[in-house]
Symmetry: C2
Subunit: 441 residues, 2 copies
């Protein structure tokens, strides 16, 4: 039997999609920079079907790429070759309670928004958030160790994980879902977090809920220099260490593009830089007032007005995408290096290129977007990432490596380190069927 | 050149110890149940020397076992064979600041007590603690993913980790010490956490400091039944979710042995069970009063009196050790299963055996100590751990597998899961030189 016939027998005819028009929505990511063409898209309806699909692929030596919500930014879930199968987990959307009620049990295709709704319904908080919440899925967020603004206080997706179920490249299923304190043997299923679909298929997760924090307030602050933003991060860390949930930053061009795209008016006077600070405390505006001093600031306390301030930050990716196809760099450096890095990056850009900067300032995590380059970008990707490495930074803070950064992994990982990665890939996926060509150079 | 001559050339004659009298202190752990005899003990004085020692062992096919503070409870760091070398990291004791001042950079041989002193000197907290703090080391705590009472709120050692440096079985050195948000490639060095020295040698770690919590109070509570302890955990989780740092438990026999050993008087009237609760909040005694109701309780606020209440809990291991050589079980189950498990375990014991129970109740983590068994214990280890598995529990909550539990790993890990563990071991240590015979059955 051919692979497609086998897959149809497992998931039903309607869920093995060969039609190019339907397939098309699975063949790119939201950057618009990465696109490909797949053999077909297969959409299993249960974890058993995922295991059977992957098992059939293992038997027939069929390569595949796992896809979540399609909100990736590094081409990691885009088919690379016409003989590659897209495994979409979009039908696995269940979110339930753990038996003790303390955690959520979520299937891989459940969205971030579903997690927030489930947490709120239980009087709790799921402590991770970012703008693509309506589409990004549990599987994709775990596979990339997604982070976002709240990671400053609550950590990335890895820190929310209490249990995981995976389908191995062989099609075998392993689960570690008890949520108990447990040191019995190697904690290898957690290694799949951040492995971008290349070591196994994450099918289910047990995710921590937290008690809701105290009352929240958000401030959007205008700043004259990025150095003042760094100073603000330090000022906030002292009196308000436990209270600060997020410190994000964006530049004047981001504000301009968002205001055009969403027909908004800036909430403070024009400045070269803006910082969004969120705190949760008994007296959140008091905490903000103390740290922000006499800076130009708009403050919001109720949910609607807080979301309105976050919109200036959340809509930036969309607004940049509407302005062109950017080269995206997702880097992190120590706070003390931020100003120097930005100056070095500007120095590498030719006159036709435009740099738009935003990101999670408190984590030293900047999203550098460059418009006005050729699609391939020539040497500019290498030049910028070399500058990041020279500043002691990471070439991928939270978006992953995918295909976009694989040639640059050596900039911050030693040859011994990459050799171990290859050995682990060979141990878990000896035939290189899962996400071949992603992550590793 | 012989292996010992090579090692002497690397670390100096005085640090390759063959003398049986000196060696003896490296050839057991603190249970007294596990003991062996080693070829020699080698004590490198730097990470470079560790790499050279392991590299020489790799070349000469010399097996070795890594040893931290010797406070293990599962025989994991005890030499198993006369041709096994003990690699002691006791000379690597540096603790320094990260360049940004936010974390500690600690060598593998630094003790938990050193971390506490360093954190306090910086006005911060290192959020992990247990009774063996004066001897347990950073390397050992990471290798076993040690936990202790504060893990209820702050997580185990893995949750304190911001960066790690390892020496591979080949003698190659890899570091991931930047502490930055970083998703560049697989996060495999973290896999060494909990691998008990079998996948590589942890030489250095970057460890998170936290702001000190609010004022603390400790309550020691007498309870008539373990079910009331479970109820207390639930009561504490509601009004005081963010405030509770630890909820430990111990039985009447633990109290009796500690009072004899340390010449203490119980701080409350005699009860079958005692719980120690620690909270940190603006009004910690208020939080305790609300949750504890009219139970029989002793409360302490200042440091000395808090430590005096914790002594009843901290001295239990020592007091049991003075009474005999226990079979130790370190298990976890869901809170709802605790009473049923204890009753099942009692049912398995013959009349000559005595069960002494203590542990981290809030995490469902019980340390079951059985006195009065033969050293080998016959079938009792299997019977008890089978009961734990039947209750959906873990056979190793925080002590690890070592040699004591390796034959029981299959009780809670599937054959596919264990096959992956073996594949990872083969990928990272192809000649099985590191900790051969530990962890894996």
């Amino acid at each position: 039997m051919s692979i497609l016939a086998e897959l149809r027998a497992i998931v039903g005819d309607g869920h093995v999609v060969g039609d190019p028009d339907v397939r098309a929505s699975y063949e790119h990511d939201i950057t618009g920079r990465f696109a490909g063409s797949a053999l077909a898209v297969v959409r299993p309806g249960s974890v058993d079907e995922v295991a059977a699909v992957v098992g059939a692929c293992a038997r027939l030596n069929q390569r595949l790429v796992v896809r979540g919500g399609g909100t990736g930014l590094v081409g990691g879930a885009v088919p690379l070759a016409a003989d590659e199968l897209v495994l979409s987990l979009e039908r696995l959307t269940d979110v339930a309670d753990s038996s003790d009620g303390g955690d959520l049990i979520a299937q891989a295709g459940a969205t971030l928004e579903q997690l927030h709704r489930a947490a709120t319904a239980r009087g709790a908080m799921f402590a991770l958030d970012f703008a693509a919440r309506g589409a990004a899925t549990v599987g994709g967020m775990l596979a990339t160790n997604a982070a976002g603004a709240l990671a400053l206080r609550y950590g990335p997706m890895r820190a929310q994980l209490a249990g995981i179920e995976v389908v191995l490249a062989s099609g075998e299923r392993v689960e570690r879902m008890s949520g108990l304190k447990d040191t019995a043997g190697y904690d290898w299923p957690r290694l799949l977090v951040g492995s971008e679909g290349t070591l196994g298929v994450i099918t289910r997760a047990r995710l921590k809920l937290r008690p809701p924090p105290g009352p929240r307030a958000v401030a959007l602050v205008g700043l004259d220099a990025i150095e003042d933003g760094v100073r603000l991060v330090r000022d906030l860390q002292r009196p308000a260490a436990g209270a600060v949930e997020a410190i994000d930053v964006f530049d004047a061009r981001s504000m301009e593009l968002v205001c055009m795209r969403r027909r908004l008016t800036p909430p403070v006077a024009a400045h070269p830089w803006y910082v969004v600070v969120q705190v949760a405390a008994d007296d959140p505006t008091g905490v903000l007032a103390q740290a922000l001093g006499d800076r130009d600031v708009a403050v919001a306390e109720d949910t609607a007005r807080r979301e309105a301030l976050w919109e200036y930050r959340d809509a930036i990716n969309e607004a940049i995408g509407a302005a062109g196809v950017p080269h995206k760099f997702d880097v992190s450096v120590a706070l003390a290096q931020i100003a120097s890095l930005l100056s070095a990056v500007r120095g590498e850009l030719s006159s036709g290129a435009e740099l738009i900067t935003f990101g999670h300032l408190g984590d030293g995590n900047l999203h550098l977007n460059v418009l006005g380059l050729e699609p391939e970008g020539g040497r500019i990707d290498a030049l910028i990432l070399e500058r990041v490495a020279a500043h002691g930074g990471s070439i991928s803070a939270e978006h992953g490596i995918g295909v976009a950064k694989r040639e640059f992994l050596h900039l911050t990982r030693s040859s011994q380190d990459i050799r171990v990665m290859r050995a682990l890939k060979a141990a878990l996926d000896p035939d290189d069927l899962l996400g071949r060509g992603r992550v590793l150079p």
